[in-house]
Symmetry: C2
Subunit: 336 residues, 2 copies
């Protein structure tokens, strides 16, 4: 199975390492022989149809901040050229989420699908802005489209709702889907001011380069779009979400909630409408998790409310979700 990897940041590198360290096991257990044939980042690209050497790739990235220096003869193929020309079965899109026009990820994904490649995306931008049309494109081209890592990182939230609850009708859900704002709100509940809590989160590397993605609820809203489409069968995009971030929450609000044995959390909910907004949640509600944890409670018609909790981010965790998608693609595509 030949793979093109778009982006070689934390997630891309963690995924490459995981492929290498688990190669024997993947073959033995799933008959999976993944081979990275092309990788690119903003600095350049590396191509080898017989399979790139992963240690060399990581060294090049570490020493030169790009995979461009993978081989002596620098490769000048652009990302778009690679996606349009290199032969592969699967494209994995890990470039940065962007909620203005979803580029360059959106072009990578659509072009790959048109060429008949299966696609795995951990980039939320294209899904947030164009979920319904990407699904149609995948169906039209008879390729598989997977994106487990976009919601919950390594925590298989989408799979849980779609598969473990099969036979059930999910009627509504509420989730804490952004770990950064949850970390900030948890620190504020422990007495820190908003500014200090934000500073602390930044120092720990939890905040996106564009802090608005976290603070104004864009990241949570993108995940809500994905859940609403994939789990509830809605056809919605970002503009359909009613969205309020956490910038206006102050310590008085939080104290008031605590007085009622509650905490303020940024909740993404799907009931009558799709909303991201700060809400008071009872502290003994399983949904009320602390720190950077994510949590989501699904309410089904017959089996009650079920909550799943885990870390929502992290390179290795998200890389493990890509691997799950790859195994899934391997199983599905050999079935047909």
């Amino acid at each position: 199975m030949r793979i093109i990897l778009c982006g070689f940041g934390t997630v891309g590198q963690s995924f490459a390492k995981l492929l290498e360290s688990r190669s024997e096991d993947l073959y033995a257990r799933y008959g999976l022989k993944p081979r990275l044939v092309g990788v690119f980042d903003t600095g350049g690209s590396a191509i080898d149809s017989s399979g790139l050497n992963i240690s060399k790739l990581i060294d090049a990235k570490k020493n030169h901040n790009s995979v461009k220096k993978y081989s002596e003869t620098e490769n000048n193929t652009s990302g778009t050229e690679m996606v349009n020309e290199l032969e592969a079965e699967v494209l994995i899109e890990t470039t940065q989420s962007n909620y203005n026009d979803a580029e360059p990820g959106l072009t990578h994904i659509t072009n790959a699908m048109k060429r008949g490649m299966h696609v795995i995306s951990v980039n939320k931008g294209p899904l947030a802005l164009a979920f319904p049309s990407l699904m149609e494109l995948a169906n039209y081209n008879q390729v598989l489209f997977r994106f487990s890592g976009t919601v919950g990182g390594g925590t298989p939230i989408l799979d849980f709702a779609k598969n473990s609850l099969r036979g059930e009708r999910i009627v509504s859900f509420d989730g804490i889907l952004n770990g950064t704002t949850n970390y900030i709100l948890t620190n504020m509940a422990n007495g820190m001011s908003f500014d200090d809590a934000l500073g602390d989160a930044k120092q720990k590397g939890y905040v996106e380069a564009d802090e608005s993605l976290d603070l104004d609820g864009l990241d949570a809203a993108a995940k809500l779009v994905i859940l609403a489409n994939w789990i509830m069968g809605m056809k919605v995009t970002m503009p359909d979400i009613k969205r309020t971030g956490i910038r206006k929450i102050n310590n008085d609000d939080i104290k008031r909630a605590a007085g009622k044995n509650s905490a303020i959390k940024l909740i993404a909910s799907c009931d009558k409408e799709l909303v991201v907004e700060p809400k008071e949640i009872a502290t003994d509600d399983p949904l009320c998790v602390s720190g950077t944890l994510n949590a989501i409670s699904f309410t089904s018609e017959h089996s009650g409310t079920q909550t799943i909790i885990g870390r929502g981010a992290g390179g290795t965790e998200t890389a493990s979700s890509i691997l799950r998608d790859l195994i899934d693609i391997r199983n599905e595509s050999t079935k047909a």
Copy 2:
């Protein structure tokens, strides 16, 4: 799909009602046309190869406390006879769990498998005492064996660990798997004595007829056996579990734990060994749930620790897990 239903208590009746209320949907979505051809309880049995009328069954149970009076001419077929003689594709075992000899459930299951029937069990006894050999028997006879409802009731704990975490290696897990003891311990944490808390739980109908199943950790241990076999690939039965119940926990222990921001919970854990015992858990650990809730945290090699929380019992919830198993059997058996 013809079904024999063993036992017609809360779960059996909820399942029958669910079949009736969802029949159109099951056919439209899964091509599933389930037909109850035989049902028995301790009082007698009802048989109709063209499909029993579910409302009539429920009326008979309500008015005569047995399905025996389903038709004018009482049916004298015993449960064992029905299992051995009636034609059906699936047997659903819902009689009471028994950890001495697992009967009569064990005989129902083994005889059905030998006759080539797929089996769904929500009865934990046979699995707790004979999981490895039942699995072998199912494989030998090429039938499917499902038991989602035995752990977590309607909360798909087994499925989550087996499927949603595919591609992962689960290295350990800890769970609160018995809602009754969790309810008692929660009440004790709120100041009630053990005896009062037990009395309250009994009054609410949470305690098994044989209270030892809850209080001495037998129910939790049975679920641990099932998880260890199914998820971790171990070949173990009840005697392999180190088990301590909650009878010796007193309010001082609980206060001492609370002083450390912890709570005492009956934890079933699988790490180096298989243990059920009361343990102190930090109150901000997602595992630390209150009331009758169940919770389990799986720790995987790459995707961290993930917790799933839900009600662990309830007729409708458990019935919905049987339905999931039935859909699963339908999908798997048409594949072959």
